[in-house]
Subunit: 323 residues, 4 copies
C-alpha cells in the first residue's frame, strides 16, 4: 500500500520520469495557514547540492491542488503535486535485460510482471521522497511544539563529511552513512500498546525510505551489551524525566516525555559509475555493466530532512490517536 497513517493519512503516487509525483494528505486539521512558500526550505534541504550529486535539475515547485482555501487548510484532502520537468525516457531498456545490482529493477519487474515503469526506477525511485518531504512540512505544522532535528553522524564511516566528499569526487563510487534523529517535547503517553508501539510506527515509515537498512532506538544495539542495572533509566522528577535515556524516550512502546532518539543506517546508493560484473538475464551471461552519467555519490546527505519528515508524519498521526 502506498499509504500510511490512521487519522492523518498520506497516499503517495508518481514515478521518477513520469508526469508528476505527489501526495494526498487526508485528515489534515482545518484552519492551518499553508502556502507553497512554506515547502521551499525543506525541499531545498532535500537537494544535496554536494559534489558528485545527480545533475538532474528539477524546480520541485509544489502545487497545492486541493484542500486549501483562502490560504488555510480546509480539512478536506490536501493534494500536493510536483510536475516532473527533466524527464529522460531513454536508456532504461537496458536494465530490463540487465537488472542493476542493488536496485529494484529485478524485484519490481517480478512483482509487476514486467509492466513497471523502468525509467529511473519508476515508482521505486528515491525521487518519491519528494512527496514525503512535502507531507512532512504539513505534519510539522500539526505538531508545532515538537522540535525534530536529524543530522548526519558519519558518512563512509567518517565523521569528517567534507573530507569524505572531497575524496569521493570523481571516484564513481557511492558511500553510505548514519543519521541520528531527535524529537524533543513529545508528551508522555503517545503510542499504542503492542503492535502500534512508537518504535513500530517510526520504523514502519522510516523503512519506507529507499536505502534505509537499519534503525535503533536509544542505546539500540549497544543496549544489547548493557546490563539492566545500567540500561534502566531512573526517574528524577514527577514529569518523568530520567537521568539517562537509554530507552530513547520510549517505555513499553509509549513515549515517556524524554527525547525520542533514534539512528538509521543508510546504505550507499546503488547507482554507481564503476563497472559491475552482473548477469544479463536475456543472454544468461555475466557482463560488465557500466552506467554512464553522474549519480548521487552520497544519498545520506539528503536524508536528514527526509527522516525528519517521516518522523513528523508519524508523530502527527500518533498525536491524533492520543487525543
Amino acid at each position: 500500500m502506498n499509504s500510511f497513517g490512521k487519522i492523518f493519512r498520506l497516499s503517495v503516487f508518481g514515478e521518477s520520469h513520469g508526469q508528476a509525483i505527489g501526495v494526498v494528505l487526508d485528515g489534515v486539521p482545518p484552519g492551518m495557514l499553508l502556502a507553497e512558500e512554506d515547502f521551499l526550505p525543506d525541499l531545498a534541504r532535500r537537494k544535496s547540492g554536494a559534489p558528485g550529486t545527480t545533475p538532474r535539475t528539477e524546480p520541485d515547485r509544489p502545487r497545492l491542488i486541493s484542500g486549501i482555501y483562502n490560504g488555510y487548510t480546509t480539512g478536506a484532502p490536501l493534494t500536493i503535486l510536483f510536475e516532473n520537468k527533466d524527464i529522460r525516457s531513454t536508456d532504461y531498456a537496458l536494465f530490463t535485460d540487465i537488472p542493476r545490482p542493488g536496485h529494484a529493477d529485478f524485484t519490481a519487474r517480478t512483482k509487476f510482471k514486467g509492466f513497471n515503469d523502468p525509467r529511473g526506477g519508476g515508482h521505486f525511485s528515491g525521487r518519491m521522497t519528494l512527496a514525503l518531504v512535502a507531507a512532512g512540512v504539513v505534519a510539522k505544522k500539526m505538531i508545532p511544539a515538537i522540535k525534530i532535528k536529524a543530522e548526519i553522524l558519519e558518512i563512509d564511516g567518517d565523521a569528517d563529511i567534507q573530507k569524505v566528499l572531497k575524496s569521493l569526487k570523481e571516484s564513481g563510487d557511492s558511500v553510505g552513512g548514519i543519521i541520528s534523529c531527535t524529537a524533543t517535547d513529545i508528551p508522555a503517553g503517545w503510542g499504542e500498546p503492542f503492535f502500534d508501539s512508537m518504535e513500530s510506527m517510526i520504523s514502519h515509515i522510516v523503512f519506507s525510505i529507499p536505502a534505509i537498512k537499519g534503525i535503533e532506538f536509544g542505546s539500540g544495539f549497544a543496549s544489547a551489551r548493557m546490563r539492566g542495572s545500567e540500561c534502566n533509566d531512573r526517574y528524577t522528577d514527577v514529569s518523568g524525566t530520567t537521568a539517562t535515556n537509554h530507552s530513547g524516550g520510549i517505555n513499553g512502546g509509549i513515549s515517556n516525555g524524554n527525547d525520542l532518539i533514534f539512528r538509521v543506517a543508510v546504505k550507499p546508493a546503488s547507482s554507481i559509475s564503476l563497472p559491475q560484473q552482473t548477469l544479463n538475464f536475456k543472454t544468461g551471461i555475466m557482463e560488465n555493466l557500466e552506467i554512464q552519467g553522474r549519480h548521487d555519490a552520497c544519498i545520506a546527505l539528503r536524508m536528514p530532512v527526509i527522516i525528519e519528515a517521516a518522523t513528523a508524519v508519524c508523530l502527527a498521526d500518533m498525536m491524533l490517536q492520543s487525543i
Copy 2:
C-alpha cells in the same frame, strides 16, 4: 491498536495477572489441520528454563475456542485462549508510587490515566508474547514452504551463552543479546512499494515485542560503511540469486528470492533484583527501590521463537497480499 495485518489479521488481548491471554486470528485459510498439540513445541521453546528464569509456573495450554471444526480450520476467526493460573495480585501497588525504571509503569499510567492493570505489567507484560507465539504456529502452517530460523548470536556481548548464564547466576542483574533471523525460500515479489516495504512490515511487528530496541536487514549498519561497489549484490542466475546478500533479500522493499536476513537487539530485562535509586512520585524523594523475587535474567533466551513467530505472521499476511 492491538491488531496487525491486512488479510491475515491478529488481535491480541489479556494481562499478565488477569484471567487470560489470547489472540483472535482473522483470515486463516480454511482446511488446515490444527490441534492443540501443534502449539506445544513452540510454546515450550518460549519458556527459557535457564538459570535465573522467572519461577512463575504456567501450563500455557492453548484452548482453541473458535474457528476449528472436526480438527480443521474453518476460515472463521480462530481464537486461542490461555487461562492464567499462577496469578499474584499483590505487591504491585508499590509501583504506582515508584514506577520501575525501564518498565512501562509510568507510561502506561500516563496513557491510561491510572486505570491500567499494574499487576506484572498488565497488558504490557512480556507474557503477551504467548499470544504472538501461538499466532506464529498458525502462520507457519500457512507458509509451509518457507523455513524461518532465529537464533541467539550473543548475550551480554559474548557468544558463549552457557558461560554467561553461569556467571549471571544469583547476580540479580539482567543481560541483553542479539538475535538473528533467516527466512529461506520466500518467493521474489512479496512486499508492497513504499510504505509497506518488507523492511517496514517486519520491523513494525518485531518492535511490538517488548525489549526490542534495534533491527537491521542484511548488512544493516555495516552497509553504512560500505561503498556501493561492495554493497551492491550482483545477480548470478535468472532466478535472481545474488553472489552476496548485503541487502538481506530485499530490494526496493520487495523480496528478491534470496534469504531474508535480519538481526535484532534485545535490551536487558528491566526487572532486576539489584537496588535502584529512583524517584518516589508520591513523596518526590529519591529512594532505593529493591524488588524481591527472581526474574528472567536473560529474556533474549526466549526470543528466537518469538521472533520467528513475528516473522511468520508478517510473511503470511504478505503472501495473501501478493497472490
Copy 3:
C-alpha cells in the same frame, strides 16, 4: 473481516454450536465502571421470549476476561466471552447435501471450501449478534449523552404485534418486520466526508446483522418522490435545528444535530418448519426438505436491541474520530 471500527474497534469470533462466542473491543477508554451485571438488561432484551421462539436455553452470562481491573476499564483490549452450553452437534450433516433455502449453508460452504462449521449456521448464526449486543453495552457507556432507541414499527406488515404473534403460533412459518431507530443529541459535525459518511458507516454495521435487507435514512425511499422544495429541511435556530427532518439528521454525510433517524427491513427468518421443495445437491433431485424443531418465528422481535447496539458502536467510533 470480522472487525469494525477505526479507533473503537471490535473483533467478533465464535460459532453457534462451538465452545463460545465473544468479542474483543480495542480502543475502549480507560476509567469506565463496567460489571457483568451491566450487560444483563440488553442481553435479556435480545431474547425475545415470544411465542414461537427457539427453545434453545442459554444463560448468556458474559465473562469479562481482559481489559478490566478493579471494576474499571483499563484501556487495554476488553474481551467478553460467552460460553455456549446448549450445544447440539447432530442433525446438521443433512444441510451439507441439502443447503437450506435462505440460509448461508451454500455460500459458506462455497467460500470456505466445505470446511465451515455447519452446526446451527456456525459463524453465520444469528447467535453472533450476542457479541454485538455486548459491544453495544460498552459503546453506550462511551456516548452517555446520546439516547438511542429502536422499536418495532410492524411485523408481517401489521402494526398490531400481539395479534400477529397469536396468529403465527404453531404455523411453522416465519415473518419479517420493520424497525425504526432514533438517536438523539448527536453533536453536529460527526461523520467523515465522502466514503465514511454517517449513512455509510451506519449501513455498513447494520447490514452485518443477519436478515437485514434494507435501510433508509430520514424520509428515505419516500424522499425519492418528494420535490426539493418539500424535502429540504429549513433551519429554525442557530444550533442547526430544522423545521422538518427529511434528511434524518445528516447533511453531506455529516450529522447536523437533529435526530438521527433510520429504518431497517428485517426479512423473515430462513428457519421454518414448513416443508420446502429444494435441491439435494448430492443426488441432483428436488426434495421436500422438512426441518423439525421450533424456530424463531419472528426474529424482528430481537432486533431493537441489536440495532441499538450497532448504532452505538458506530457512533462511539465516530465520536473518537471527531474529537
Copy 4:
C-alpha cells in the same frame, strides 16, 4: 476518510470550484491496457444533458498522471486528474450566513470550523462523483466477466421519465428518483462474514454518493412483509441457481452466484430556484432565500453510471480479497 477499499483502494480529492478533482487508485493490477479514451463513455453518461441541467460546462478530460507506462497499468498508484475550468469563486459568501437547506453548508462549516471551501459545496459537491466514475472505469476492467447495469426505475414517482422532465422544465424545483442496479455473473463466495458482508460493503460505498438516502437488496423492504415460506429462495441446480431471487444474490453476506440486485433512493437535489424560508444565522431572522441560476432538476438522471461505478469499485476489491 476519503478512501475506500482494502486491496484495491481509492483516495479521492478536490473541490467543486478548486483547481482540480481527482483520485488515486492503489492496488490496480499491472498489465491492463488503459487510455484516456476509455473514460469518455462513462464520463459522458455522467453528464445528464437533460432539460433543467446545470449550465456548467466542463470538458472533464481525464489526465492519467501516474501508474501508466506504454499504455499499460504498472501496478503503482494510478492517478486520474480532472482540472476544473469553469470555476466561479463568487456568490458563495452568502451561504456562510444563510446555510442552504438540504446542503452540507452548515455541517461542513461546523465540522471544519468555518474553514471549508464553500464554493459550490467544495469537497461535498456532487462533482466529486467524477472521481468515482473514473475509478469505476478502471474497476470495470478489473472484473471483465461481470456485467453491471444500473437504470432509472422512476423519477418524481413516475416511470415516464420524459413526461416528468417536460413538466419540470422551468419549475425551479427538483425531483428525486429510484435507481436499480443488477450485477450478473459474480462468482459465489465473495464477501466476508459479519462486518464486511456484501450488503455492508455495497451500502458503504453507495451511501458515499451525495443524495442517496436508502438502499434495499433483493426484495428489501418488501421482504419484511413476506413469510419465510415465500421469501426463501429454493435452489434448482448445483451451481446454486435459485428459483426466485428475493435475497438479491446474497446469503449470509456472501454472494450466491445469482444476480446481485439492489435499489437506491435518490432524494431531490437540494439546489432549487424556488424561494425558501430559512434562518439567517448571522441576524437570527428567518429570510426568504432565493438562489438564482439553473440547477440540476433531476440528479437521478446522472446516477446510473455513478451507481455502476461504486458497485464495480466494491466488487473489484471484494474479488481481490476472495482470491
